[in-house]
Symmetry: D3
Subunit: 249 residues, 6 copies
């Protein structure tokens, strides 16, 4: 049995969400896998814009740097925009998985076309950009929003669940799809309920990412240090980022 | 510990290759996973053309139909052209993974761009079509061929290995890539040797597919039966395919 | 006057459909052209899924191999998914035309954008894949289904015709198109009636393919034997496919 | 036997080229087909730039308007940039074929990938734009130029032929292709010699267009008058174009 | 202060429209910029089809040739189809800007996705082709038409304005966009009114092109004369275009 | 004369580079334009990786927030990866321009195809991603690197210039292009020298961005606040980012 430690990074700073995501990850993890769920000390309490994403990417990087001081075998970035993904990959030879990409990969393995159901409509553009960059644009029929703020998943869970299921049913009826991707890390604990209510395969990124991370570790495949994901060149950083100076990762 | 049975289908009929692939799969499999490696009774001894692929797809389908009578949790199609993949998916609610797609997915998780090193140049077009259909065209810098027939991987293994390593080194030097995808199921046992010799992450499809299959089973995600991967409509088949008639899969 | 023999292969095994398609082809053929319409002895009675397609591709290949023993000048694969097209091309230096590609090519010559009206919605994904592979995705506005099983075109012809016309009229009204492509070989005899009822150019693949096949023969252009459509390398086949062994095509 | 009249328009004003192209077209035409080869009275003697193209498009339109006063069944625009193609289509319900598109369509029917060998490198961008617009970009591996001015095909035919063959042989050796498309209408009479010398299928647009035009006429498919290729709205034209005013085409 | 002369070419021959466009351009121009607004002597009074475009391209080229005899620093082609754009670029080392491209560029700088509102639906295909060629297809959500002839912008201005605003409001409500591009040069004077009524950034091409032209002149960036936009090779022209012969631009 | 204030943000913290870029911007600015060139207090001294970019995006956002307290009319992000561009756009209704996008836009207005010459090869992937996201992939023939660290542009300027010119000359000779885009803000003062030495239009992003920013301000076009670039929803931030909490931008 392979034993490994996966560092699951919730890029926002809402501890209850970190715990919830950590539990969902632990439930799906293999027996030998330890999930270490953390969130940055600094950053937004939820991620619902490009700005929130940009700020959160610093915390993601800090968490990876912290993880590198432990025996971390793989990292997961548990926000659907995959904030800081390529930066994080540069900082480690371990694999780093974003939950959006994880969900997209899994969805294409069980269906020919899928839709995304996310929280707020304004974040749809983030998913559009990821789909294009990863190559999945033509697999995704439609990006739908339940129009619920992320923290409602913590605070008004039942109402939020109802809205998500409603939108998923609409997707099933209208979008000519085989699966639905849930577009927020905060939905990690809702997959089974939604799947039951909707009657379609529901792909959720946190759980998908755990399995992909375990897979890469088993395969002894880590982030390539040849070429453009190599460790950053050491250099000076100033001000509040001075501690990042001259690192030899 | 999840226990599961993965039916690994070698689409060609060369038993020694089936065994070799089965062993590579078994080595990488999780403790609870049983690999059942088979090949069709009927079909080509190697797959090196569209024609070989077309014939082999029948055998793949027959193997899936056989697998459905056992407690099969997932299927792998262990030929780099992913022959019969969508047909196989229609026949089961279990997940079905092709080794080309498995390798592509994994390669994009650890690098931004990769090259493929395959056996014969004439099969490059098959990889091109798969990359386009799956959405990975822009992730692949170049498709290279070692120009060795598939069965040389059985019969002249050392020479074949040398040729593959040579081509991989050329890819590393010239292609501006972070990883290499091996373009033939028959290379399943060579990954580690090649990786050592080349000094780049080498992604191999059989092993990648085992982990993806295990992942999907753990996630309780199977082939969607909603829409275009639903079971085929029952109907009459004639002649040598009469036994396929009126199945209610 | 060029005389030539075109082998029209109906990939399914419904003889009445073969005859109907053969007649439609003969009606449109040039004076010097002989249409030989056949179907495989073995295979599905209709093609409505990836699985049906995969099985039918064997029959297509067998028919081409048979055709090679006659004086065949060109082949047509008369099922809208173009099953076995590239495999068939490898087996001959004669041109091989699929009816889907034939219809797409012709439609782009007389309109800037078209829609497809096919039989069952679940086969839409097959057309999507072909459009992408051939390069016509942006020419096709929408894939519509009349939701009639293929054999209804034989058995409930009038009702089927009504449904198709209805869907075509909807396409004309809603899709901002100049032409409609009929998405099933079994509609070969309906083109004129539909065109009359709809008032748009209706492109039908069987008839289109006959003219393209004649064109290529006249131009003395056959399937390229340089590179990836060259004859398959001779090799052993086992079991029910043993007769394919060591062919030197 | 279908009888028809195809109006072959050489968009440049070099009469010797018009005759040569007309002869090539006549040689390939079916027994019932009459080729009427003309060129505009006004325009450039060769087309080697966007500017030459723009001017020549007027002549093409004038020729179509003239053709509409005869019993024209189809039009061919015999310059590889397909100048004025969509404008021409608006002016008639007959089919209009450009020789570049004709060649591309035919090339994809007999090979998976092709290269273009054209006259001057600077016209390569025109071919790039056409490939993208028509959807064939991924079928074309490379655009090559023999770097000969168009009229050299008239005046230094043998040298020109040598240069073209040389470039075609380079394409065959280096481009991983199955066919070559000749990128100039003035090469219409050279196809067979080049094909013999190069040993690859050589696709030439004038001859290809004749067969496509005949095909569409036989199929009773003309330019769609529904939507964006409908006749232009009648209106006033001024100055030297006043004669185009208020036409009711 | 940079002084410069911009030659604004209205490709149609309606003088009132030329004046209106010229005034809109002058209002937005920098203090040192002189706008010279002209239209060809010969051509269509409005441009609403590929045919109108093709004819107008001659006038555009003639205007550029005339402009080259003055001290012209930049050219603008003030019709939304950018007729004759590449031809015009060949004729000068000054920059040449089409108003469609100008509007697209500006729209992508202030929004992630936009829609186009144009005059007649049949011209939508022209915008589609431009979007694809320029690379903006995925930035444009939808092309909408107010279904008003171009000259209604002159003759029934208020009704036309109402229709345009109506369609813009529909775009705002339904298209998930951040900006709207006006799809006709004749709307140059309506931008502010529409923007006020709609409450979205409205991008208009004439004004956008003036600023881009000024920008390029300030940057001392002119049309590249290296490669495929170099001056056309001098050659003979016949008939009404004889005056274009043997130019050495 | 429009007066305006453009806030030019150098995302790295090397003051000498900020000054140099500021001077280049001031030289090209219109008479009424004031350039305020700043850099973040905190961040990397140069940006040569995804990690450097991610950290720098925070500083970019902070600078925009600071700019919002002044009378800022437009922002420029003066690093070729356009770090934090969409985040910055959310924070203001003023236009925000990245220098990479600025250069790409300008390059496509004066040439049909261009190459990029950047500093380090490893940053090429950043340019690739931007080209794809903006829609310019097919306009860029090749991304080349002079393989000089960014700060060499400060410290070994002459050697760096030589290397850049060398690579530009290679691009001119080999890439079939009409223009070259300089791939680093630190090259802002070298454009004219390089252009002189290379004999091709050289497009540089800082200067291009100044003119685009001025253009948008003149056009009264600011970042759309409708939809996905609207101000971020106010929320709590923790730790070192607490000062960003509950802003109502």
């Amino acid at each position: 049995m392979t034993t490994m430690q996966i560092h699951l990074i919730n890029p926002n700073t809402t501890v209850s969400m970190t715990e919830k995501i950590g539990e969902a990850a632990t439930r799906i993890a293999a027996p030998g896998t330890t999930i270490v769920a953390t969130n940055p000390r600094s950053g937004p309490v939820s991620i619902e814009s490009h700005f929130d994403e940009a700020i959160s990417a610093v915390g993601v990087a800090e968490e990876v740097l912290a993880g590198e001081r432990e025996n971390t075998d793989a990292y997961i970035i548990a926000c659907f925009g995959d904030p800081g993904l390529l930066a994080a990959r540069e900082l480690t030879h371990a694999p780093v998985i974003g939950i959006a990409e994880a969900a997209f990969h899994m969805a294409t393995l069980i269906s020919t076309r899928f839709s995304i159901v996310t929280t707020l409509g304004r974040t749809g553009i983030i998913a559009e950009h990821l789909l294009q960059s990863y190559g999945f644009s033509h697999h995704c029929r439609r990006i739908r929003a339940a129009e619920i703020p992320v923290l409602d998943l913590e605070e008004s869970k039942n109402q939020a669940l109802d809205r998500i299921i409603e939108e998923c049913l609409r997707a099933k009826a209208e979008d000519n799809i085989g699966a639905i991707v849930l577009g927020c890390g905060g939905m990690a604990d809702l997959r089974q309920q939604i799947q039951k209510a909707v009657g379609l395969p529901i792909v959720e990124g946190v759980t998908a990412a755990v399995k992909l991370a375990e897979s890469l570790v088993s395969l002894q495949l880590g982030t390539s240090k040849h070429g453009d994901l190599d460790y950053p060149r050491p250099k000076a950083f100033t001000g509040q980022f001075e501690h990042l100076s001259q690192r030899t990762y």
